[in-house]
């Protein structure tokens, strides 16, 4: 393994992009356009009956009032202790925990999904007001809505920004690496490279370094645009986001190289895009929460890299999780394994034999 040769491959890629303005423009402009569209289109939240745990050990109203609240058609009510309710809320099993403190009714939600938050607060509040209406002991109750993560002013874009960052990094880097490597194959430069001392592993590492460079630049642009122009709320550590992105993108480059082995021309490579990306759009939690997926699709979701990138980036950006958090570490680990397997596959797909 020779670092100078790896560096030469990476430098060659960077120099080449300098004159490929269209690809460079696409890399940065396209995600901004789509993010803007998403921000404009998905501004409103949808209504649904939330699942609510009523903390019976902190709810001192008469049993009949409690029954009325739990039986309200506006919510799916459950009984549990406060502690058990909190556990279920943290693990995402329920939408909210409700308890009574003096004459103040507390509603605690996760808050990491503004689409859900918007639709949870209203129905719970209405159900509570319906229940206590006419109860002199609770005339004019004070309702306090609190969130574990985020805040009531979080928009759908705040929730989507982390997953869109992962998606754009994956999509554009995958496409660019697939087409670039295909060009190496179709223009004869790969044949030429294979007749030099360059090793296949050095070539793949050079590609990973070259495209990794652009992926991180892209991440900076998307993140700055999201935070300062689109005013996306953001917690967590910037470096952790970059680590997740970098590991994700290594898999994307390798997958691109692998796909280019299966395609004969650029048009064919582009046809692989829906094949590789659409399942990830629908099965990685990007558009549809994972717990709403049918059981038979769960295993497929579990092998998609974006599933783990989405989970990690949401945890970091919305919940403010650190790199050391077991969930984030596990996701990065899975992404690293995916990247490694794809890189090995990419090396194996580059055959010295040209015909």
């Amino acid at each position: 393994m020779d670092v100078r040769r790896v560096r030469a491959v990476a430098k060659r890629i960077v120099l080449g992009f300098r004159r490929d303005r269209r690809s460079l423009g696409l890399l940065f402009a396209a995600p901004i356009v789509v993010l803007s569209l998403v921000g404009a289109v998905w501004g409103s939240a949808t209504e649904r009956a939330p699942t609510v745990v009523v903390a019976t050990d902190r709810f001192t109203l008469p049993a009949s009032t409690l029954d009325a609240f739990i039986g309200s058609s506006r919510i799916h009510g459950r009984r549990a202790t406060f502690e058990e309710g909190m556990r279920q809320l943290r693990e995402g099993e329920i939408d909210a925990v409700v308890w009574l403190e003096g004459t103040t009714l507390h509603v605690l939600m996760q808050g990491d999904d503004p689409l859900q938050s918007g639709s949870i607060g209203g129905p719970i509040q209405e159900a509570l007001l319906d229940t206590v209406r006419g109860n002199p002991a609770l005339a004019g109750p004070r309702v306090e809505i609190e969130q574990l993560y985020g805040g009531p002013d979080y928009s759908i874009l705040d929730y989507l920004a982390p997953v869109l960052i992962a998606f754009f990094a994956f999509f554009f880097i995958f496409l660019l690496s697939a087409v670039s490597f295909l060009r190496e194959r179709t223009t004869g430069t790969l044949e030429r490279l294979m007749a030099t001392p360059l090793r296949r592993g050095e070539l793949v590492l050079g590609y990973l370094a070259g495209f990794g460079f652009f992926a991180l630049l892209q991440a900076i642009v998307i993140l700055l645009f999201s935070v300062f122009v689109l005013q996306v709320r953001y917690r967590g550590n910037l470096a952790t986001i970059f680590i997740v992105e970098a590991v994700l993108v290594l898999g994307a480059v390798s997958l691109g190289l692998l796909v280019s082995a299966a395609a004969r021309n650029e048009l064919q490579a582009v046809q692989f895009v829906p094949l590789v990306l659409l399942p990830q759009v629908f099965l990685s939690g990007l558009l549809i929460p994972l717990d709403q997926l049918p059981d038979y699709l769960r295993p497929l979701s579990a092998v998609l890299p974006l599933t783990y990138a989405n989970e990690a980036l949401r945890a970091v950006m919305i919940k403010g999780f650190e790199l050391s958090d077991p969930l984030v570490l596990r996701d990065i680990g899975v992404l690293a394994i995916f990247g490694l397997v794809m890189a090995i596959g990419a090396v194996a797909s580059i055959r010295r034999e040209v015909a």
């Binding site: 100078r4 040769r5 030469a8 060659r12 004159r19 030429r192 007749a195 001392p197 010295r352 015909a355």
Partner: protein
């Protein structure tokens, strides 16, 4: 002895599915000579050159390049290979392309070597031009420069003069001659009979076998014909 023979092929066979491209090819290329592999399209010239470049592995027979296996010879930086169509990065400049190939071969004093190579192919003034903006002939010259940057002992040139105008072809052949004079062995393929006279020795190739090997004069006299084309036909008929 190994220094005197640059490439030895004995009974080399290579098959692509149903097509047998090389059918027991025998070749001996002496060090320091320009050896022309002469034959029609589809005769196995490119397949053989790719075998010598370590890009294809023969199924049968033995192939020794500079006393080593082809792959080992390539890995040690002693072989330069020019593909039939110039294999360059169109979006990079001439200089950037040469720097890239120099780095892959770990060429010492690369900038000096690049300047020498560009001077040799008469492109010093176009070093900063983007390859996509160059003419086909200029690209061929850049491709040749990239082939000998690392001072290989063996140059493999796959139909380097295809589609090249007569003036440039003349220039290219005088460059090949200069490289040979510097001690480099050159294996060049061609399907143009009139290029044969420029080679020291020839291998007449057809259907994956070498029909005859020798200098133009030698081949013509052995066949008892007036010119090389007739000699080629005579050797082909005798087989």
């Amino acid at each position: 002895m190994a220094a005197e023979v640059a490439v030895v092929a004995q009974g080399v066979r290579k098959r692509f599915g149903a097509v047998e491209a090389l059918r027991g090819l025998d070749v001996a290329i002496r060090a320091g000579e320009i050896y022309g592999l002469l034959g029609p399209n589809g005769s196995g010239k490119t397949t053989f050159i790719r075998c010598v470049a370590g890009l294809l592995r023969p199924e049968k027979g033995t192939l020794t390049v500079l006393g080593q296996t082809p792959r080992a010879a390539v890995n040690s930086g002693r072989v330069g290979y020019m593909t039939q169509a110039p294999a360059l990065y169109g979006e990079l400049s001439v200089q950037e392309n040469l720097r890239f190939f120099a780095a892959l071969e770990r060429v010492p004093k690369a900038e000096q070597r690049i300047e020498e190579a560009l001077r040799a192919v008469d492109l010093l003034d176009r070093r900063k031009s983007v390859v996509n903006t160059l003419s086909g002939g200029m690209r061929t010259r850049v491709s040749i420069a990239a082939t000998f940057l690392h001072h290989p002992l063996l140059l493999l040139l796959d139909e380097p003069t295809v589609g090249v105008d007569p003036v440039l072809r003349q220039e290219l052949w005088s460059r090949f001659r200069r490289l040979a004079a510097a001690g480099i062995t050159i294996l060049v393929s061609s399907h143009v009979m009139d290029e044969a006279s420029r080679c020291d020795r020839l291998g007449l190739i057809r259907d994956g076998v070498v029909l005859a090997e020798g200098s133009t004069q030698d081949l013509v006299s052995r066949a008892g014909t007036r010119d090389l084309e007739s000699a080629f036909l005579a050797f082909a008929a005798a087989r």
